[in-house]
Each structure stands twice: as C-alpha cells, then as structure tokens.
C-alpha cells in the first residue's frame, strides 16, 4: 500500500481530492442542505470588492448624468426668458419626465403605494455558473431578507431569493430555466405555472389545458398559489398561444424587465391583491399637450362663433347698420374692437342722420 502511494503519489492525491468533493456533493444532494461555511467565505471575499467597484461605477455614472441634466436645465432657463409661459409648462413637463425616468424614485413611489412591505436593493453582480440567471443583491439577513422571499420591480415579478448572507443575497431570476411561479390570467382566470426559459424577456406558461381559453395579448398575474409571490403582481403579456398535445403552449413577454434590472424590491411581508380588471400600463405620467404659442403675450380676443342665421335683437340691429353702411360706402359704428355704435338712431326708411364714427 505504501509502495503504491509512493509510486502513484500524484494520482492518489487526485483520487482523494475528487472523492472528497464527490462526498461533499452527495451530502448536499442527499440532505438538500448546504455547506454554508465555504459559501460565506467566498461571498465575504468577493461581494465587498464588487460593492466597491459598483459604488465607484454608480458615482461616476451619476456625476456624468447630473452634469448633462444641469446643462439641459441651463438651456431650458435660456428659453424661458424668450418664451416665458410656454417654457414654464415645458419645464414642468421635463421635470415630471425626469423624475419619472428616475428608477429609484419610481421604485420609492411604488414602494409607498404597494400594499406589501418591501425593501429596496441594488443588484451588484452575477453568479459564476454558466447560463444561470442568478444575481447578487446588496441586501442580506441584516436587512431582514430570508430565502424564498419574492423579488419584484414596479413593472412585475423579477425573481426569488435563494440564498442569504449577512450583507448580500442570491436571487434566482424569473428568466432562469429552473424558475417557476403560480399564475392566473386576467380575463379568463385560467391558472397555470410560469416557467423561465433561460433567456431574457420571455417565459412560458405551462399546465394550461387545450380546452381552456387564453387570448393573445392577455395578461398573466401571480396567483399566490406558490406561497412566494402575493396574488395580483403582473407577470407578463401573452405573445403566442398554440394548441399543444394536451396543454396549450403559451409564451409571455415578461413585464418586470421592461426598464432594465438594476434596482429591485424584496417583499418582506406580502399582501395578496385582487387581479386588476383594467389593462396593465407602464407607469408613466399622463400629461396634456403643452398650450399653443402666444406670440404677443396678451390675452387673445375670443371671437364668438357665428354659425347660424341672425337670431337676437342686437344681431338684427347690427345687420341693419351693416347693410346701410354698404349702401353709403362706410362702416357704421365700428370701433377698434369691431363693435357698432348702437346709439345712432335709425329712420323709418332705414337711413340714419348720424355721421359715421371715425376709426
């Protein structure tokens, strides 16, 4: 034995190392447990570095975006001097657009309006597994995060927490091939199971029988059956529906990834909500069109509409003076604003002694 180990020392060590890892693997698969210590070390070594780099990147990115936003505001102020009223409206419009575009703010707005209690988090990195759609977030057990919690964006579901560390957590995204969630359709209330497809933007709804009705363009929401996602969160819109052998083949366009995925919300305490009847819309602020340009700056004179025949006494009197003026070649009683001089008396034959007003 000793001779064998000496003769094949390298091979013996290799076999020992492989066997040790196989046992480790078998233990985890058999017990469905985890070797937490090694993970904590690795995450503890890598995530602080990733956070430092991420915060540096964010600072630089914010600096440049702020700089260009300020430049834009300066231009707006110049134009405000020239076209005061219109630019005020434009400025409000731009401010509203900017604030709506700000993901963090929209996240906060959603957070305050959402019935569920949530915690905002920033995505700091991907995992190392090839092809897996799993990301790290900068919130962990110290923020109250636990495995199994739902991760959402204001536009829809984004994933679920799979592993939690003190200051970081691992999130399995809805696009991963192993992700699943219970869903229900908006119009026909058809229950199904949402499955990730392994690539961005698209997912599949399974376990919907051919006899059940699902329309293209219909929305799917979380049903709450999986006990992870509260009922009523948008999942996606049906893009394709086919009849399968026994079950329908339904593909949905995911709504949670519409505006990219940088900030997410983790649902600490979920509250089930009813499925909305109205169609899902993106969260943009509806604004009226800006008012028309006012060249002079003064209030325009509103001319009354004269669409039908003359009906009132005043109209009839005005018409008499107009016809008389046409015969005598001048305009009676027309002042700068076009009002006739009704104080000039008319004769019985329809003529007047009064001299016309000078314009």
């Amino acid at each position: 034995m000793e001779f064998f180990l000496n003769r094949y020392r390298n091979l013996s060590v290799l076999v020992a190392a492989i066997l040790a890892q196989l046992v480790l693997l078998a233990y985890q698969v058999k017990t469905n447990g985890d070797v937490r210590l090694i993970r904590v070390w690795a995450v503890g070594a890598v995530t602080p570095l990733a956070r430092v780099i991420e915060s540096g990147r964010t600072s630089v990115s914010h600096f440049f975006s702020d700089y260009f936003v300020l430049l834009d505001v300066r231009d707006e102020n110049k134009r405000m001097k020239a076209e005061l009223d219109r630019i005020k409206m434009d400025n409000q419009y731009l401010r509203a657009e900017l604030s709506t575009a700000d993901r963090a703010r929209s996240l906060a707005i959603f957070q305050t309006h959402s019935p569920s209690k949530t915690v905002a988090a920033h995505i700091t990195g991907n995992t190392t597994a090839a092809g897996a759609k799993v990301v790290f977030i900068d919130r962990g057990s110290s923020s109250g995060i636990e495995p199994g919690m739902a991760v959402i964006t204001p536009d829809g579901i984004a994933g679920k927490v799979t592993k939690v560390f003190s200051a970081a957590a691992m999130v399995l995204l809805v696009t991963d091939g192993t992700f699943a969630a219970g869903v229900i359709s908006q119009n026909n209330r058809v229950h199904g199971t949402f499955k990730g497809q392994g690539y961005e933007g698209t997912g599949k709804i399974e376990h919907v029988q051919n006899e059940q009705k699902v329309d293209q363009g219909e929305w799917f929401f979380t049903s709450g059956d999986d006990r992870i996602f509260p009922k009523g969160l948008p999942v996606g819109e049906v893009t394709t529906v086919h009849q399968g052998k026994t079950e329908k083949e339904i593909f949905v366009s995911l709504s949670g990834f519409r505006n990219g995925l940088e900030e997410v919300l983790i649902i600490i305490e979920g509250v089930h909500a009813p499925i909305p009847n109205a169609p899902v819309t993106t969260q943009t602020v509806h604004l009226l069109a800006p008012p028309p340009a006012d060249a002079g700056g003064a209030t325009p004179i509103v001319q009354p509409l004269q669409t039908g025949p003359v009906t009132t006494d005043a109209d009839r009197t005005k018409e008499q003076y107009r016809k008389l003026g046409q015969q005598e070649g001048h305009v009676y009683g027309e002042r700068s604003n076009g009002a006739p001089n009704y104080n000039t008396p008319l004769k019985a034959d329809g003529k007047s002694d009064a001299k016309p007003d000078k314009p």
Partner: protein, 176 residues
C-alpha cells in the same frame, strides 16, 4: 538507465518551475472570479469568457506540479461553486481535473510556446465544458443542453484570450 533519467529530469523541472508571489496568485484568482461575477453583468457576452479556468490552466502549467495544480484548481472551482446557486463541488471536481492534467502536460511540453498555449487553452476549455455538462447531467440530474458548435467557437475565443492573458501573466513571475 533509470538513474540517468531521474537525475536528468529533476534538475530540469526545478529549472523550469516558475515562481509567483502569493499575493499575486491570490489577487489574480480573486480578480478572475470577480470578473466572472461582476463584469459579465454589464457585458453579457463576456460570461463566455472563463477566466477562472484560464488562470487555473496557467498556474498549473507554470508550476509543473500536478499536486499543486489540482489543489489550486479545486480551490478556484470551489470558490466558483460558492458563488453559484448549485451544490459545492461541480466546478471543484472539473477544475481539479483540469489543474492536474494541465500540470501533467507541462512536464512534457514547452509551455512558453504561444501556439501550444493556444492549443492547450482550446483543449482544456472544451474538456472543462464537456466534463461539467456530463457531471451536471449525471450527478445532479439536470437536463442541460450541450451545443457542440457553440462550445467549439467559445473554446477558440477563450484560447485566443488565453494567449494574450498568459503573456501578461508571464510578466508577474518572480525573477532571480
């Protein structure tokens, strides 16, 4: 005859062994894993660049010690496993084997030759992907697909990157 071959091989191996500072080894390994975790988030195509594997192959080739190579591969692999959602050991086993075979290969070839490095980079990347796929299907029961044309193209790209990366890492060797 036996005495001659042993007496000849030992000095040659020591002569060719490359030494690296521990901080350099740790730093490069950490950067390779960080690259995999962080950079691929912003440039998705870079997720096909398996820097931890390339680093494992490089140090195993340079050290020319199968035991050192397999332990280094196991360490990098387990660290990579820790940052994935899978059970620990998948990348560990694959990279242990890669480290062992790379170091064994280095005893027989000139590891400084760029063409050979290109070939070794290609072979070990392909071996790594294939073995991972086999293990994931056999041990974890996963139904992962293995697309041969894609694997070959990505292996070639990784091999090209490996040539330039290894040139860069050569400069970090401890001289003297």
């Amino acid at each position: 005859m036996t005495g001659f071959s042993e007496g000849y091989r030992e000095p040659l191996r020591k002569e060719r062994n490359s030494m690296f500072n521990v901080a350099v080894i740790t730093g490069i390994s950490l950067l390779a894993i960080l690259f995999r975790v962080y950079v691929s988030r912003f440039i998705p195509y870079l997720q096909y660049l398996e820097l931890p594997l390339l680093v494992t192959v490089y140090f195993s080739l340079m050290w020319r010690s199968p035991i050192a190579g397999l332990f280094f591969g196991a360490a990098i692999g387990l660290a990579q496993d820790s940052l994935s959602h899978q059970p620990l050991g998948m990348f560990g086993i694959v990279k242990t084997l890669v480290g062992y075979f790379a170091a064994s290969m280095s005893l027989r070839v000139d590891v400084g030759n760029p063409v050979l490095r290109l070939f070794l980079g290609f072979v070990f990347f392909f071996f790594h992907q294939l073995l991972y796929w086999v293990l994931a299907n056999a041990l974890l029961g996963e139904t992962l697909g293995f697309e041969l044309p894609q694997a070959l193209v990505v292996a070639i790209l990784n091999a090209i990157v490996a040539v330039f990366l290894y040139q860069l890492l050569d400069r970090l060797k401890v001289t003297g």
